[in-house]
Symmetry: D2
């Protein structure tokens, strides 16, 4: 049973490793690229992974968008958090199907989307964003990714407190994470995970100090470097340019003083 | 509603960032450490995250084991694959709740356990292992982690073929991944993910060559370096020693030639 | 006694960390930049390090060109070897004042220039280059750097053999270093250093195999990553982009079988 | 003309990449290892690089100690500064034959030894050390390396000022480098190099702030990671463990305000 492309699905029109386009499939729709146009409607009924040709004869492939594709497309223009960081936040933060997670700030919803994809179907993401202008953008991105059912978007200032209790994780991607530590302590269940992503080391240091003062243990700050390798027989070498820094991630777990 | 520790649960008795012990909670059980003994049964009815003292007065914390803890405890002694690699395999491989995943080889079940934790409740991991002596160990580890229901352990040689079809991902952690590429092509759905972890660059190069010859695209090989930072006001610095290499991960996606 | 800028000296007109210009000082000379023109002749008699203003009022600083500046300016357009690699080649290769060094290939002379700067005044660099069109460029760069007296440029194919004997080091930056290993053995004194820089790992592996077969010991292959940090109070972080790869460097020492 | 080992020379008795011993050659001397004893006196008249056998038949090689070997042997037990850092300090700091360099603190003399090896024969290192107990150790190490003639050891507190003027570089490996910035400005010639090595980022940030306030330009802070590769046909991979951090190096150049 092959998974067929349907009206309304999103596809990633893949040209090469540098160029791909996320497009909604609609009958009769024409998508224009610098390599000619593509009759997107013709994809209906084909399999994901199908090859197709533009009007100029260039080959594209209709991939099914992955979480990583969606992170890249969602953060276009404001990108700070990379898929590598999202991956570590989720696994090191023990965020799983069924987890209840508080997040701030929502931004364009890239991290929200990834979190929602992993807590579904029974978990939930409570996402705080003080800047109301972002919530519409985030909602649109979450709907496109098909995970809006697992998210509660909240137009609230998380520095004023967290409504939820007994949550599995609190994930922060915001300028002043140290202000949220005591709120996070109240919101988390025992042994629950505090996770914070920050571009500067100064933010991490302030956050770690607060965590130490608030009954968290197993506090650690890491950075993650991903290096792409050109694996080719007889001329294998890492790529010349790499991303040298996105941010530091701090993890900690709540302890209970009875 | 605080999550209470019950008879039969596993706890991570956390002493410090270097020393922690995974213990099953049973009434009357005594656990011996070099810091004195601990009456593990006393934990029943307490909250995860609770502090407790050994007979010598040393403080331990009863954390709830995370996936990362379980990976570390499961791989003890044979460790190759690290949590950082598992995190990238899952997110970059688009493995999610509901995914059907073929894996080889099972080994002690560390990767199987992580995969199962993320495909549950509706997904499934089909795990191939030719060495029958490992299957008992893996089953025990998977049962301890509570994910055996989502796994099918198969005592089969994956180089002879894959039984499943239309799967979302094929994940390989074995010596000769290039021998599995054509089998993986048949097993995968269109746009599905091929993922292979290898300690040496030679294995990656051979695998990439096979992928290029078998209608896969978006082929990339990466390595991931995680660096721990001592974030401490006035004396912040990365740790002196780090893991400089675990392995290379190769990702690719199946295309359909109609 | 301040070091004054003289007619004929080179200065580095430094605008900021991204933009600087290497200029020869001549009386009456005008140098044009996108920030206005500079009367370069006015620098005569001033101290290195002096501030000066362009016709548009932009401040430049007349730095004395360092070896690193000269490497950057010399390799413009063909850059493979970076100052970080040159630094390790020299120190790990034990190349010092007085050393006699064989080098191939000369190219534009960037590495030759650095080697000559460190073996002077009593040492010497014998630099082999098969492509005669490069020798003129290299000579000009070496003369500009003031080190031509310590270099012998040789328009010869080093794969055919090395004329010199009893040298302290053989340094290779060429496509097929493994072909030179037996020649290097003959040219080197006992305990002397073999050093080879290669962009691909395949070249390094072939070279290491040859070294093992030719009575070299202490063979090691390394790569060097330099990361720039934005050290700024309250917002310290590594730079986003970094050079992820230039090449691998292999070192070895000759042993004597008597 | 082969370089012969003479009475009084030092040799590096090399067993493998992990084990080597620096020994002074004296006639009749016996050196004991866990692989049996070696008649060191027998080396007199042999070539550097010669193979020899211990009483138990194990093969050693009598290498000529390199600067890198000497750094390793000198820092044994107090090692902070690694050869990779020394290499960058020297090349990026434009320290060359003929340079006059101020250094603090001397410590065991590892960096002093390397600096002296590169400024010789006409340059000089002025090395400040407030702790008098270190000066004897440093002198012994510098004499062993044969570079004491190029060094002036000064039992002085560099935070009180620098005696020398018009120097090419000031190199600091001490706890409070920011206190030396204004002294370094006075001591340096125009365009001269300030270089400071610090284990923590906090030290680097303070130093950079002082440099900005004291007419230095081209200020940069870097860290250097060296990764060892096991280059072996069919099983090439980086080493599992690596040094993840030694320190940050800050470079700057003095400008002249006339």
């Amino acid at each position: 049973m092959v998974e067929e492309i349907k009206e309304g699905d999103y596809v990633l029109l893949y040209l090469d490793d540098r160029r791909s386009y996320m497009v909604k499939v609609e009958s009769g729709k024409v998508f224009h690229t610098h390599k000619g146009f593509i009759n997107v409607g013709d994809l209906i009924g084909k399999s994901f992974g199908a090859h197709l040709r533009s009007s100029m004869g260039t080959e594209f492939i209709a991939l099914k968008p992955s979480i990583r594709d969606q992170i890249f497309k969602t953060t276009r223009g404001t990108q700070i958090l990379y898929p590598k960081d999202v991956a570590l936040i989720i696994l090191f933060g023990n965020i799983m199907p069924g987890s209840r997670v508080v997040e701030a700030g929502t931004g364009t919803g890239a991290l929200t989307m990834a979190l929602a994809s992993y807590v579904k179907p029974s978990g939930r993401v409570y996402s705080y964003e003080i800047r109301s202008e972002f919530l519409g953008i985030a909602r649109k991105n979450l709907e496109r990714a098909g995970v809006m059912d697992y998210v509660e978007l909240k137009n609230k200032d998380i520095t004023q407190g967290i409504d939820e209790t007994n949550v599995d994780a609190v994930v922060l991607d915001m300028a002043t994470p140290w202000l949220i530590v005591s709120h996070a302590y109240k919101a988390l269940k025992g042994s629950g995970a505090f996770i914070s992503f920050s571009p500067t080391i100064d933010q991490s240091v302030k956050t770690v100090e607060e965590l130490k003062a608030n009954n968290f243990v197993n506090i650690e700050t890491i950075e993650c470097l991903v290096r792409r390798i050109r694996a080719e027989k007889g001329k294998t070498r890492p790529e010349t340019l790499m991303i040298g820094h996105t941010g530091y991630i701090t993890f900690a777990r709540k302890t209970i003083i009875e």
